[in-house]
């Protein structure tokens, strides 16, 4: 209780300091909270950016496609490498090494291939989501106790039954964690791609507001985008909890 009050108090104090300092300094650059509230109202009433619903929907679709591709490719690659010991040993470390490269180095090449439209954002979101999912599947397959698989097979369980009854439950923890990280990174990939250069989507609106020094609108757009980011993570953590309950 006391901690919750202190948390709220800290937030309120920060907003108050920001408000006062922002007014005293340059309100256009510092964007005090009082300037954000009317901008947010105008944005949500579609007065400042009538394109908001269309742009938001485009960004959501880009994230959806990027994540679906990342899940499909990550599960495929992860299981292929996990089931084959030799390939897993050889290629697993290579994938892990590529994961150590700051992913944004690939973005200019993707922009060159796919242009400024949605395709380059989808490709970047896919790329960011792909690695954690693949590595999580790889780690998960290694967690499965081979004796359990052997015993199940000896008692006559088929490959499909072994997969769903033995392997999946014992690797679910790692797998679901990887899927959640993958979603977070796919979302970040699409947003980063849009801000680094795009014609439509939330990133394009943010850049438009920033370029015209409409800072109140800029902060309002950032808040709406943050809602999308937080919403996707809340959804993912809910699914994660359900999956974990199922595995226990």
């Amino acid at each position: 209780m006391k901690v919750a009050l202190l948390r709220l108090g800290l937030l309120a104090a920060l907003l108050a300091v920001w408000e006062l300092a922002g007014r005293a300094a340059n309100p256009l650059l510092a964007v005090p909270p009082s300037a954000v509230v009317p901008a947010l109202r105008d944005l949500l009433l579609l007065r400042s950016y009538p394109r908001l619903p269309a742009s938001l929907w485009l960004t959501v679709r880009e994230i959806g496609v990027a994540y679906a591709l990342a899940v499909a490719a990550g599960l495929g690659c992860g299981f292929a490498l996990g089931m084959n010991r030799l390939l897993g040993r050889a290629w697993g470390p290579m994938i892990a090494a590529l994961y150590a490269v700051p992913a944004v180095v690939w973005y200019p090449s993707l922009m060159l291939f796919f242009g400024l439209d949605a395709a380059s954002k989808i490709a970047f979101g896919f790329l960011l989501g792909f690695f954690p999912i693949t590595l999580a599947v790889l780690a998960g397959v290694r967690q499965v106790n081979p004796h359990l698989v052997l015993v199940a097979r000896a008692y006559g369980a088929g490959v499909v039954v072994v997969f769903f009854r033995v392997m999946l439950p014992s690797m679910l923890f790692t797998l679901v964690g990887g899927l959640r990280t993958g979603l977070a990174l796919s979302v970040i990939g699409v947003v980063v791609g849009e801000i680094l250069g795009s014609k439509d989507g939330m990133g394009a609106l943010i850049n438009h507001a920033y370029g015209l020094l409409r800072t109140g609108d800029y902060v309002a757009l950032v808040l709406v985008t943050l809602l999308l980011v937080v919403g996707s993570d809340v959804l993912a953590s809910g699914l994660e909890r359900r999956a974990r309950r199922w595995s226990e």
């Binding site: 050889a90 590529l98 150590a100 992913a103 944004v104 180095v105």
Partner: protein
């Protein structure tokens, strides 16, 4: 792992890379892919060899900014992590904010940072440090929280001063987490610096790569991408090596 499997996987890794390069070269030469977008590896190598001056200057600039951002994020991350981690009330109040900021896509505040700090070096160092700070802070906070209470109690009852408690008990206990944070942090710092250079750069690799992409200079772009990736992998492997040596020394 048996030495035999080790060499087999090394051989397989080498074979994969060579086969990939050969296939790529073949695809580009026989025009299965458009060389305007996917230049042959040989063209990339030529571009790298013929363009070393500006590319190395860009890389040096990026690495200098990354180093400054890294020092900032390690110093701030470790000291704030120790402070917040060891004071219970501070930790309880701040940790949800720290976790939220860690997970938030920082690119959303980048336009604002550029408005406040302008183009060039300052926003790159600031944004790079912002990127590197959170993984280090989160890891160190957790490590300080999880220091064995018995060790602290024993040291206290033997009459250790607070200073001795920090220096002799706490610091040695959190070293592995600090090192893990430093390994994560360097990639995050480099990422942050490159993003700023692409968004609002006037120099550096991110800027170079952005303009190469806009100019459709694919061989030069691929060469620059390969160079930055190789540098980053080398830095991380170097840190891993130092980590290994340190942990062997710690026993």
């Amino acid at each position: 792992m048996a030495p035999g499997t080790m060499t087999t996987s090394r051989a397989l890794q080498l074979a994969t890379v060579l086969a990939g390069l050969a296939l790529w070269e073949l695809a580009a030469r026989s025009a299965w892919v458009d060389p305007l977008f996917v230049p042959a590896p040989s063209a990339v190598a030529r571009a790298l060899a013929g363009n070393t001056g500006p590319v190395l200057a860009g890389l040096g600039d990026t690495l200098a900014k990354t180093a400054a951002a890294y020092v900032l994020s390690v110093v701030l991350g470790v000291s704030a992590g120790i402070a917040v981690g060891s004071l219970r009330l501070l930790r309880d109040v701040l940790s949800p904010y720290v976790i939220a900021l860690y997970g938030m896509p920082k690119i959303l505040v980048l336009p604002w940072i550029v408005l406040l700090l302008g183009y060039g070096t300052a926003p790159a160092v600031f944004y790079g440090a912002l990127h590197g700070l959170f993984p280090i802070l989160v890891l160190v906070m957790g490590a300080v929280r999880d220091v064995d209470r018995n060790l602290v109690t024993v040291a206290r009852s033997l009459g250790a001063t607070p200073w001795q408690l920090y220096w002799k008990v706490l610091l040695p206990a959190i070293v592995p987490s600090v090192l893990a944070g430093m390994r994560l942090g360097i990639v995050f710092c480099l990422l942050g610096v490159l993003v700023v250079e692409m968004f609002a750069g006037v120099r550096g690799m991110g800027y170079v790569m952005g303009s190469l992409a806009n100019g459709f200079q694919a061989p030069e772009l691929f060469a620059a991408t390969a160079l930055v990736s190789a540098t980053s992998i080398a830095i991380v492997l170097g840190l891993d090596h130092v980590n290994d040596r340190l942990s062997r020394w710690r026993g």
